[in-house]
């Protein structure tokens, strides 16, 4: 009997032993390894094809494009040494940098650029940037490679967005990879890029590990955005998939993760006083706000939309949801943009009397308006709750309906809402900012703003390449936007990262993507 009891207890002993014997191994830092949190797994390793934000972030370590974004959203060279634009603005001649090699040791030439471009332009591949270059959105681009270091793009018309679209992060920066990235059957196997790190291991749902690329050809310009000096200083980077925010927060405090690239403002409040982490805050280019369905009989009236805007105490909402880190901004263009002007920087105004009279003029009779939101992004839910109380002060009744993100996104996509909270990812050019909300609702129900005059001006900004002229056009569009008020942009938010004190050289940037280059891990911490 005793033997049987003993046998039955073995699993408990074994398990207990594990808890007692193994302590100490828990937080052991692997030498030369940087551990960065991702909140979900990547979708693929095929740059810009089957992607999401995390996939793009990872790819930015492996592949590089001809050009890339700097911290301030300006375009700078990456694999290109320089580019020349013809007088008519239709020909871009890129000269490739000398001495750049792929992870397999092969030198970068125009042949690889041509190979990748032709693959990106395959209609059935689903590259994110395709509509911007194949004529679907107006611009057609052809490519030629007259010699090993020269690539020429010919545009059907001048475009202020050509370089911006080439550098777009959601298009994997039109990253250049070696043809051997594909197998003999033409299927993509693994990226062989020119970036500071190369792909090492992908344990699905657990982590993605990158290795330092020893022969990386770094630029001499300072690190900025996804360009400049991107020298890898750690041997390995492990992107650890930790879906739960609380677990990630505990892990960085325990030293089990080195960097969380993007923490919430509520976590910022709890972590900022901890000596176990360092916090970094920068203003982002994303936008959050309230959308109106302008085809709705009531909300189709500008007076009703203006009434709602006048009833909100926007600075107070923003102050609360951003923990005082952000300022209210009623333009769709983020304050960090080089085109942000006085016209866009007009402050919010709160006037309950005018709000009431405008609502009355619009024919509002006290009906309850559904306001869609989600808890997936806590700031959207908080915005909705505060707006509900503020609108009630002006006699405008709102019913906050909480949906999961996929459902809210679906309702946004089909235009099936009256008022909805929404957050837009970063657009690094005002044309893209206005373009994300402006369009023909009959063709694209997700578009919030259907104003032919604004669309005409927006088309001009796409063809106009002179900065000052573009700025004037943006001011005109902004004036129309404020008059129509198809949505209320509220603020641009922040990118907040948390890291352990053992990490040196890490910095957030407005896009919020993690950057493992130029980062060191101090030993023994």
């Amino acid at each position: 009997m005793k033997r049987r009891t003993l046998l039955a207890s073995l699993p408990i002993f074994a398990f207990g032993a594990a808890t007692l014997v193994l302590p100490g191994m828990a937080t052991a830092q692997v030498a030369g390894m940087l551990r960065i949190r991702l909140n979900s797994d990547i979708r693929s390793t095929d740059p810009g094809i089957n992607r999401d934000a995390n996939t793009d972030y990872l790819m930015s370590h492996i592949v590089e494009g001809l050009v890339g974004f700097q911290d301030n959203a300006d375009i700078a060279p990456m694999l290109a040494e320089k580019w020349d634009i013809s007088e008519d603005g239709k020909t871009y001649t890129f000269t490739l940098r000398d001495g750049v090699t792929f992870h397999n040791g092969a030198p970068l030439t125009s042949a690889e650029v041509l190979f990748c471009w032709n693959r990106y332009m395959q209609a059935d591949l689903g590259w994110r940037g395709l509509p911007e270059f194949n004529g679907e959105n107006g611009l057609t681009v052809t490519i030629a490679a007259p010699d090993a270091r020269t690539v020429i793009f010919t545009l059907s018309e001048p475009s202020s967005l050509f370089l911006v679209n080439l550098a777009r992060i959601d298009c994997a920066q039109t990253g250049i990879y070696h043809p051997d990235s594909l197998g003999s059957d033409g299927k993509f196997v693994a990226p062989i890029g020119t970036g500071p790190f190369k792909m090492a291991k992908w344990e699905r749902a657990q982590y993605i590990e990158l290795e330092k690329f020893d022969a990386y050809a770094a630029l001499s310009t300072p690190r900025s955005g996804l360009v400049g000096d991107k020298t890898p200083l750690v041997d390995r980077v492990r992107f650890m998939i930790v879906p739960e925010d609380s677990s990630a927060k505990t892990a960085v405090l325990a030293g089990d993760i080195d960097i969380i690239p993007d923490i919430s403002t509520s976590d910022y409040t709890t972590l900022k006083s901890s000596a176990a982490v360092k916090i970094d805050v920068v203003e982002s280019f994303s936008v959050a706000g309230f959308l109106f369905q302008t085809k709705d009989p009531l909300l189709g009236k500008p007076e009703m939309r203006q009434a709602i805007k006048l009833a909100l105490d926007a600075p107070q909402i923003v102050d609360i949801i951003s923990e005082g880190l952000s300022k209210a901004n009623q333009s769709i263009v983020p304050p960090g943009s080089a085109f942000y002007s006085q016209v866009m920087a007009q402050p919010f105004e709160r006037d309950l009397e005018r709000a009431r009279s405008l609502a009355k003029a619009a024919g509002y009779k006290g009906e309850v308006l559904p306001l869609l939101t989600t808890k997936h992004y806590p700031q959207l839910f908080d915005m909705a709750i505060m707006a509900q109380a503020m609108l009630a002060e002006a006699g405008i009744l709102v019913d906050v309906q909480v949906l999961d993100w996929a459902t809210l996104f679906d309702r946004y996509g089909s235009g099936n809402y009256q008022i909805a909270t929404m957050t837009y990812s970063a657009r690094l050019d005002p044309t893209l900012s206005y373009d994300m909300i402006s369009g023909d609702k009959a063709e694209e129900p997700r578009k919030v703003w259907d104003n032919p005059e604004a669309r005409k001006l927006l088309d001009q900004t796409k063809r106009e390449t002179r900065h000052d002229e573009r700025a004037k056009l943006f001011d005109q569009i902004e004036t129309l936007f404020q008059k129509d008020q198809p949505m209320i942009p509220l603020y641009s938010g922040n990118r907040i990262s948390a890291r352990t004190p053992s990490i040196d050289g890490y910095a957030s940037w407005p896009v919020g993507s993690p950057r493992a280059w130029g980062v060191t891990v101090k030993a023994g911490m």
Partner: protein
Amino acid sequence: MKGLASYVTRRLLWTLPTLILVSLMVFFLVRLVPGDPAQLILGDQATAQELAALRSRLGLDQSIPHQYLAWLGRVLSGDLGQSITNGQAVGALILSRFQVSAVIVLLAVGIATIIAVPMGLLAAWKQNRAGDLVIVTLATLMMSVPSFWLGLMLLLVFGLTLGWLPVVGFVPFSENVGQAMLYIVLPVATLTLIEVGVLTRMMRASAIEALRLEYVTHARAKGLSERRVLLRHVLPNAFAPTWTMLGLVLGGLLGGTAVLETVFTIPGLGRLLVDSIFQRDYPVIQGCLLFTAGIYVFVNLIVDLCYPLFDPRVTQK
């Protein structure tokens, strides 16, 4: 033996309509939930043309009955399809994630049973006395505590404060047994504590019932020691209902413990299901739910087949 074979065959055949019904419900209910996978994949910059092209590529532009029949045809030939989000084969994906969940669940339920059975027996023996009160209070407390809270508390204490165990990450047993143990200690401990409560209460209730039966009185009258009465006469009879409960618990847990797997970053079946629901990855959702239903049916079949070991009357019937 022949009777048993016919019983098993009948039970297995009965699972077919169940699984077909599950497949129908899963397929159509999932599509009733709003949310467009193409929109989620392409994000907020997608044009109408891009969305239409992706829907067509994913087969989402076909009628729902057409999609169902196509899917069912593939399932019957053993192909659960491919994930919309990452292109992986759903069958292989489910199996790899199930292995992870199964190890944790089997360990936790095994340990919980080893703890709960003597505890329940002891509580029943000491009914309405101090020992019983303590055990019942602890069991009720364990049953009432939400698993995510308990998990986070264990993470805070053993991961953060004491620094004994890792807070995030996972190592498969096939890679390094020692490291693997280290990473599953907390999830197994959490699940064990939760399940101990349920099983202890069930064991206690059954044992109290058995202790009141005449054969126990008879055994005591014969002068058998209390230990012998409990282990020889009460335990086998009282264990049958607990065994049934174990089947239900196992069946439910083997489908994945989504909350725990998320808190402890364990790449198990539950997390796969939750992630795929958020991403509206229809083939994975359907595959996971069908697999979970199959596991539930299978585990309960095994439990039923083992039942005569504890209660021979079942075979006689």
